[in-house]
Symmetry: C2
Subunit: 228 residues, 2 copies
């Protein structure tokens, strides 16, 4: 009655980080085992029988790259029968954000190496992982326009210009600095601190802000839509 299936299930994670304050990076690991041995790939692996999908992703990220994740959501499930040379492997992909300055990447036994790659300069990836990354980049571009996910990528306190540059990088278009500040102040999801940027390379030191999550949740409940 229930057909015998020969399908295995894995999870993969597309984790974005904002490193050099000028480009968006994605976390990749170098495979130590076939197929695609010594090729770069997304961190991920087979789901264990008793764990949830989120647990599987978190576990793999920890063991393969030593990453503690700030934000994680499900992205898409890739199920093309030919996507894995070993046989039928369906992969549930996740979308993650971290602030890379918070920790050091640590490749484990499962991975030769773990590194950040600029999303505009990716190497050839294993499996269909370039499709997965492309899907994640689309999600990132869409999502940042109406949800305040940018804060997960920055330090806790930051000048508004950092946030603006992040938006410019992700959306890949210039944004008027003054209108962006006006909009952010108007939205009220930033909390000002009586602190200033320490060592600006040049120019007037900027006031530091942090994300006011309480205010954001309040606005969301009132149905106010955040959009850039």
């Amino acid at each position: 009655m229930e057909p015998k299936q020969n399908i295995r299930l894995c999870v993969d994670a597309v984790v974005f980080g904002y490193t050099a304050k000028e480009s968006i990076s994605v976390l990749l690991i170098k495979r130590t085992i076939p197929p695609f041995m010594h090729r770069w790939a997304l961190p991920g692996g087979f789901v264990l029988d008793g764990e949830t999908l989120e647990e599987a992703v978190t576990r793999e990220l920890h063991t393969e790259a030593g990453v503690h994740i700030n934000y994680l959501e499900q992205l898409y499930t890739f199920g093309r029968p030919e996507r894995d040379p070993r046989g039928r492997v369906v992969s549930v992909a996740y979308f993650g954000l971290v602030n890379p300055t918070n920790f050091k990447l640590a490749a484990s036994s499962d991975a030769e190496d773990a590194r950040w790659f600029d999303i505009k300069k990716l190497p050839d990836l294993a499996f269909d992982h370039s499709d997965v990354v492309a899907t994640a980049v689309k999600r990132l571009r869409n999502k940042i326009r109406y949800e305040p996910i940018g804060f997960e990528l920055l330090d806790q306190k930051f000048p508004i210009s950092d946030l603006e540059k992040l938006y410019e990088t992700i959306l890949d278009r210039p944004i008027d600095r003054r209108n962006f500040q006006k909009k952010m102040n108007h939205l009220g999801i930033l909390m000002g601190h009586n602190e200033k940027q320490k060592h600006p390379s040049a120019g007037r030191p900027a006031k530091l802000y942090s994300f006011n999550e309480e205010q954001y949740i309040k606005l969301k409940q009132e149905g106010i839509i955040f959009e850039i």
Copy 2:
């Protein structure tokens, strides 16, 4: 090296239809086999080894309910270990839209019955299917605000007021008829026909329109954002 997995994969479909022109319905089937025998559930079933996920959904919709689908996209993958009493079954849920006036529901051997249910008056569902439906309703409400999916639910030619009532139903709030018309005309994704509504119950007969997909694709490429 690769752990022996005991996970099975199935697909489920949340198919919406706009029937009585006053409420949104979802397609459910009555199960003939345990678990949850004789309970209402989403159409779906196990994925076959050689088929894609989309093929699996389409096949199940066809065999269980005789439905030809207008629009289909992936919704979310549900993977809680306890979601199926038979063991670990991960389900990839899909989101579909049809115009129910185009065909007759036909329950097959796999289902005792297939019926449309008002999304506000759902019966107790099998498995975690009420979570799945809730996720799909959220997606429907979000999606209709910035993508012209409403057309999949209406006849090919329709008066603007039908489209407006559909939006009011899905968003569950009143919309100013005149501003809605203005906005639709301004967007230019409607194509007017030199035809009028045949038998209006009362009042001036409305001009009939159809969706101008070409124009929509053009606008989308130019980066113009559609929003209600």
